[in-house]
């Protein structure tokens, strides 16, 4: 992976914060999956198990003013950004108490209060919109930054190219965060992508680009610190290609046949979540008790959110005529 000189390193508090966000993602996903299995949720679900370090570290650097544009596999990104879980659960349960009154669902969650501006189901489309939000940040004279999340496969679609070029020419405060999990649906990275590292594409946009170990909090921390600093100070965008692996396939129900047993097992053996937990304990950053209590409180939060979501009201059919335009469409 690329070396950064004088790379900033996460201190104990930072590592704890990153771990907290990772665990929040993982605990929340675990409950989503078990609720789906019980037949109490009926959405298509795109797991991010194994990729938690990326949004957890990215979000560590973001505040509520900062914004993200994410994708169908984006629940991790929202949870990492500390979106409240109750409206999230109500949304994926299709209830009117959901962030989007149940009209968007998991693939289209929006929550401006925590900066979750767009969740798109169209590969590549998070990037051009992130540019527009970043342009607005510049016009506002604000130092807020925008993160566009996407996958390795998305780096082959036209919108990626157009967005990175424009962001660079306009020096927009965007961080392009590519989670390279080596697969686009069932297609292996190298069978679809013509360059060995996506970060090299940044050369073609006169933009700093780095291949980062997306499962390593130190590497993610160092590169994200630099990218945020660059964006906030008006120097423009950065492309971070974050290497990772998704343990649970593309979408729930996926049979994984397109990957080898070995590579999957190797990736799971290197699971970054227990590894970071171990490190926190080993390095004396957190005690077992602290971590257990963290886990317990997260599980409580998730359980409360689940109960809230599943107990919500169904949206009224009038909702079909609302939010199409500002004015309700007459019946």
């Amino acid at each position: 992976m690329t070396e950064l000189s004088n790379a900033p390193k996460p201190d104990g508090e930072a590592l704890k914060d990153i771990y907290r966000r990772m665990l929040r993602i993982e605990r929340n996903e675990d409950e989503i999956l078990s609720t789906i299995r019980k037949g109490r949720l009926t959405m298509p679900y795109y797991s991010a198990r194994g990729q938690e370090v990326i949004p957890a570290t990215v979000s560590h650097f973001l505040n509520d003013e900062d914004q993200i544009c994410t994708i169908y596999r984006g629940v991790q990104d929202m949870v990492a950004k500390d979106m409240p879980l109750k409206p999230l659960w109500a949304e994926i349960a299709g209830r009117v108490e959901g962030t989007c009154k149940g009209k968007g669902g998991g693939m289209h969650i929006t929550h401006p209060e925590t900066g979750v501006m767009v969740t798109t189901g169209i590969v590549g489309s998070s990037m051009p919109i992130a540019n527009g939000l970043a342009w607005a940040a510049k016009l506002d004279g604000s130092d807020r930054v925008v993160v566009a999340y996407f996958g390795d496969g998305a780096s082959n679609i036209g919108a990626f190219h157009e967005a990175l070029n424009m962001a660079s020419v306009w020096k927009l405060p965007v961080i392009f965060v590519c989670a390279n999990n080596l697969f686009a649906e069932h297609t292996r990275y190298e069978d679809a992508t013509s360059v060995d590292q996506i970060s090299k594409r940044a050369i073609g946009y006169g933009m700093p680009g780095f291949t980062v170990d997306g499962n390593n909090p130190d590497d993610m921390y160092a590169h994200m610190a630099a990218a945020v600093e660059r964006a906030r100070s008006g120097e423009g965008p950065t492309l971070l290609e974050c290497m990772t692996f998704r343990f649970r396939g593309h979408v729930l129900g996926d049979d994984d046949k397109y990957m080898t047993k070995e590579e999957k097992e190797a990736a799971m053996a290197a699971d970054p979540l227990p590894a970071l937990r171990q490190r926190l304990v080993d390095d004396g950053i957190a005690t077992e008790e602290e971590l257990a209590s963290l886990q317990e409180s997260l599980e409580q939060e998730v359980a409360d959110a689940r109960d809230f979501g599943l107990a919500g009201e169904l949206p009224s059919e009038d909702e079909l005529r609302r939010d199409v335009f500002a004015e309700e469409i007459p019946a």
């Binding site: 686009a184 649906e185 069978d191 397109y258 079909l320 469409i329």
Partner: protein, 329 residues
């Protein structure tokens, strides 16, 4: 009589692709994840093709719909017959230039020197809770585009027969695979051959009322049929199968007989494809209708996620029954 096989739509398409590739080595297949290494397509529709016909003719692609369509167009101009998958119909939006400004127009703009015999396979439909960006029926856009044919089958045998015709058609065809047609396996003759494009199928004869529909909505019309009959209404149900060019003759002959028309589709009603059929029938049969032509289609909104809203979005069999009763006065 030929033997019958029970097949789902997806199996029928798969069978057509196998047959077409075996019969004509100019037939190619491309799209995201469509080769066997990638599982033969996310729904298995192209399973087995790359193993049998090789990865030169059956190619998984990058996520690059413009490049997919460009590759198909160029190969088609050079004499091949590519079947390109754009996984979901909403993703045609990233390849509209290639489809509309190029595939559909190159024969005309070249004065007939080149042609583009390709098939675009694409899947869509509400009912899977995939919400606003994975569910739209956009056949109206393509029907409004000169130079491309629009096929929207409902039954497995039609999927097979129309796919065989679409592949051999000398012009571009968009072949819409409606999610609402995937559930019900149906009889497909083991020797099912090509079914001509542009010909509707009268799936139920009747004398009081004509129902024109296609794709998933035909399936719902069949579900509505018993209740309509029970209400004492003799409905003629026409499965259009090809939306453009559509079978005016069959529809006009039917409405001339029944005097009443209900057009129903899953696409949004407003400025939808049903309007063309309604307007044409009104124009051609002016003075001969016993009542106003009724159109049913989606409300003017994106397809919602919540199950109850999604259900309300779709024109349900009950809505068709109610409309049929209302039409009878």
């Amino acid at each position: 009589m030929s033997e019958m096989e029970k097949m789902h739509a997806i199996q029928a398409i798969n069978s057509a692709l196998h047959q077409a590739m075996a019969e004509d080595d100019k037939v190619l297949v491309l799209g995201e994840d469509i080769a066997d290494k990638e599982g033969g397509g996310v729904t298995g529709t192209t399973a087995g093709l790359s193993t049998k016909f090789g990865t030169d003719r059956v190619k998984s692609t990058p996520i690059s719909e413009q490049a997919i369509m460009g590759a198909a167009i160029g190969a088609a101009m050079a004499g091949y017959k590519p079947v390109a998958e754009i996984m979901m119909m909403n993703f045609t939006t990233v390849a509209m230039d290639m489809i509309v400004n190029h595939a559909a127009k190159l024969r005309f703009m070249s004065g007939g020197q080149t042609n583009v015999p390709l098939v675009i396979r694409t899947m869509t439909g509400a009912g899977w809770q995939t919400a606003g960006q994975h569910s739209d029926f956009l056949e109206g856009w393509f029907a409004h585009t000169a130079g491309i044919k629009v096929v929207c089958p409902a039954f497995p045998a039609d999927y097979k027969g129309l796919m065989l015709s679409a592949i051999q058609d000398p012009d571009p065809v968009i072949f819409v695979e409606g999610g609402g047609t995937f559930f019900i396996p149906n009889d497909v003759p083991s020797d099912q051959g090509p079914i001509p494009l542009g010909k509707a199928n009268v799936v139920q004869e009747g004398t009081d009322l004509t129902i024109v529909t296609w794709s998933a909505q035909t399936v719902r019309a069949m579900m509505a049929a018993p209740a309509i009959a029970e209400a004492g209404i003799s409905a003629e149900i026409i499965d259009l199968r090809t939306v453009s060019p559509w079978d005016k003759e069959t529809v006009l002959a039917s409405v001339e007989k029944t005097g009443r028309l209900l057009v129903a589709h899953e696409a949004v009603r407003n400025f939808g494809p049903g309007a063309e059929i309604a307007a044409t029938v009104n124009e051609e049969l002016f003075g001969k209708l016993k009542g106003p032509v009724r159109r049913l289609g989606g409300p003017t909104c994106a397809v919602p996620f919540a199950k109850n809203l999604e259900t309300a979005f779709i024109v349900q069999p009950d809505d068709m029954v109610a409309a049929a009763k209302e039409l009878m006065g």
